[in-house]
C-alpha cells in the first residue's frame, strides 16, 4: 500500500500548496484524485515520486510510505526502483528519440526485464509496435500518451501514477486510454489516476479523492462520488438545475488544452 499522511508541501520556501493531504492507494486498486486547476494534484504526485526538488518544492510535514516504509525524501531513481512509475502531465515524450528508445529509457532501472516488458507494452499498445523506429515527436497525441504510459510500465511498477492522461484527447481516444488503464490494473498494477475528466476517472476507479486548494475535501468509494449531488454538479457537470457549472467545467477543459 502506498500512503500519504498529512503531507504538506511548500514551493520556494513560502508558497504553501499542499495543506495536509492524506490518501491511500491499496495494491491492485485504481484510486482517482480529482480537482480543478491548481488544486495541487500534480504536486501530490511530485511529492510521491521525489520530484519536488526540481521545482524548488519541499515536503515540510507529514510522511509518505510504501508498505509502512517511508519514501519521502528519497531521490526519484530510488522511488522508481521501489516500484512506483509515473507518467507526467502533458505526456513529455522525448520527441527527438524513437518510440523504442523512449521505451528503453523506461527500462533504465530494469535492464533484465527489458524484453519481457517491451513485449508487454507492445501487446497493450499495438499502435506502438507497428513503428518502433518512428520519431516519437511525430506520433499523434493519443499515441504519445500511450507511449508515455508504456514508458512508465517499462520498470514493472507496482504502482502507476498517471497525471491527466486524457488531457487534450478526443472522446474516442479517452475511451481507449480508459480501457488501457483498466487492463493495466487488471494485470495487477495499482493506479493513482489524476484527472480533470471526473466522469472517466470515477467510472473505473475503486475509490476517489476530491481536492480543493491543497486539501482533500471529500473521500469516498467512486460509486458514491458518482451519485453525490455536489460532485455531480461541480465535477461532472450534471447539475439537476441548469448548466452554469457545466459551462465552467467546459471552460476549464478548453483552457487546459491551450496550456498543454
Amino acid at each position: 500500500m502506498l500512503a500519504l499522511k498529512n503531507v504538506e508541501v511548500v514551493y520556494s520556501d513560502v508558497i504553501l500548496v499542499l495543506r495536509g493531504i492524506s490518501l491511500e492507494v491499496p495494491d491492485g486498486k485504481i484510486v482517482a484524485l480529482l480537482g480543478a486547476n491548481g488544486a495541487g494534484k500534480s504536486t501530490t504526485l511530485r511529492a510521491i515520486s521525489g520530484l519536488l526538488d526540481v521545482h524548488r518544492g519541499d515536503l515540510t510535514k507529514g510522511q509518505i510510505t510504501l508498505d509502512e516504509h517511508r519514501i519521502d525524501h528519497l531521490p526519484p531513481a530510488k522511488v522508481v526502483k521501489l516500484g512506483i512509475g509515473q507518467a507526467l502531465e502533458g505526456r513529455r515524450i522525448l520527441a527527438e528519440l524513437t518510440v523504442e528508445e523512449n521505451l528503453r529509457l523506461g527500462a533504465h532501472t530494469a535492464r533484465k526485464t527489458l524484453d519481457v516488458n517491451l513485449a508487454r507494452v507492445y501487446e497493450l499498445f499495438p499502435q506502438l509496435k507497428e513503428r518502433p523506429r518512428f520519431t516519437a515527436g511525430y506520433l499523434s497525441g493519443g499515441q504519445q500518451q500511450m507511449l508515455a504510459i508504456g514508458r512508465a510500465l517499462m520498470s514493472s511498477p507496482r504502482f502507476l501514477l498517471l497525471d491527466e492522461p486524457s488531457l487534450g484527447l478526443a472522446p474516442l481516444l479517452v475511451q481507449q486510454i480508459r480501457d488501457i488503464i483498466v487492463e493495466i490494473n487488471r494485470q495487477g498494477t495499482g493506479v493513482l489516476l489524476v484527472e480533470q475528466n471526473a466522469t472517466m476517472a470515477l467510472s473505473i476507479a475503486h475509490h476517489g479523492y476530491i481536492m480543493e486548494t491543497g486539501k482533500i475535501v471529500m473521500d469516498k468509494p467512486a460509486r458514491e462520488l458518482l451519485d453525490d449531488e455536489d460532485v455531480r454538479e461541480f465535477y461532472l457537470g450534471l447539475s439537476s438545475e441548469g448548466s452554469k457549472s457545466f459551462a465552467e467545467v467546459k471552460h476549464y477543459r478548453r483552457k487546459k488544452r491551450w496550456l498543454s
Partner: protein
Amino acid sequence: MTQFLQALVNGVSLASIYALIALGFVIIYKSMQVLNFAQPALLLLGGYWVLYFATVWGWAFPLAIVVGALFAAATGVIVERTTLRPMVGKPVFAVAILTIGLNTVISVIALDLMGVEIRQMGDPWGFGFVEFGGLNIAHRQIAAIVAVAVLVGLLLAFFKYSRLGLAMRATAFDQEVALTQGVSVSTVFALSWAIAAVLAMFGGVFLGSGVGFERSAAVTALKALPVVVVGGLDSIAGAIVGALLVAVSETLAATYQPEYAPFLGKGFSQLVPYVVMLLVLLFKPYGLFGTKEIERV
C-alpha cells in the same frame, strides 16, 4: 594547387583537435547547461598525465594513453563533484564564471607539474611524414584524424546504443522525464565531465605529439571556444562542422594571407577563428546547428 591541398590537410588535422575540445564542451552543456571554460586546463592536465607515464615512467605509449585517460576521467569527475554539484540551480552566468576560475586553478597545477620547458609527449609519431602527390602529411596528423574519427564513432555509438548513453540523451532533452524513469542525473553529470576531460586529454596528446607539449597548448585550446559558438552550443554535429570550418579557414589564412593581404599583419591566422565566429553570429545567432530556445539564458 598543392599549396591549397596542403593547407586543407593541415586544416583537417587541426580541426580534429578543435573537435575534441568542442565536443567536450557541447556534451557538458547538453547534459547540465553549464558553459565549461575549463576545457583548456583539462587539456593541459590530461596531456601531462600521458607524457608523464610515457616519458618519466617510460611506459608503452598505448598504456600511457589508457592510464592517462583514467586519470583524466577521474579529474573530470572530481571537478564536477566538488565544484559544479553545489552550483546546481545557480544562474548560468555565475557557473560559467566559476569554470573560468577552475580553468585558472587547474592550469596552475598542470603548469607547475610540467615545468617551463617544452616536454616531449613520448609519442611514436615524432616528425615522420609521408609524401603524397607533393603533399607532406605528418604521421601525427594522420594519427590525429584517424583517432578522432574513431573516437567520434565510439561516442555516437555510445549515445545511440548504450543504456547510459540513452540516459544522457534523455537528460539533455528533459531532465525531469529522465528522473521519472529512474535515471540518476548526478551520474549523468559526472559522466559528461569524465567524457569531456578524456576528449580534452586526447586533444593535448595530439597537440603535443612530435612538436612537444607546453603551455601554449592552452592558447590553441582556447580557439576551440569559437568553434562551439560557430557550431551551436548544443550540437554534436555542429562541433564537428564548426571545427572543420574554423580550422580550415585558419590554415588557409596562414597559407595565403601573408602573401595576399600582408597589411593585416603577422599572425593574423590566429584571429581567424574569432572572425569566423563573428561572421556566423551575424547570420546565425545560435550557431549553424544550435537550438534556438536552449541558448536563451
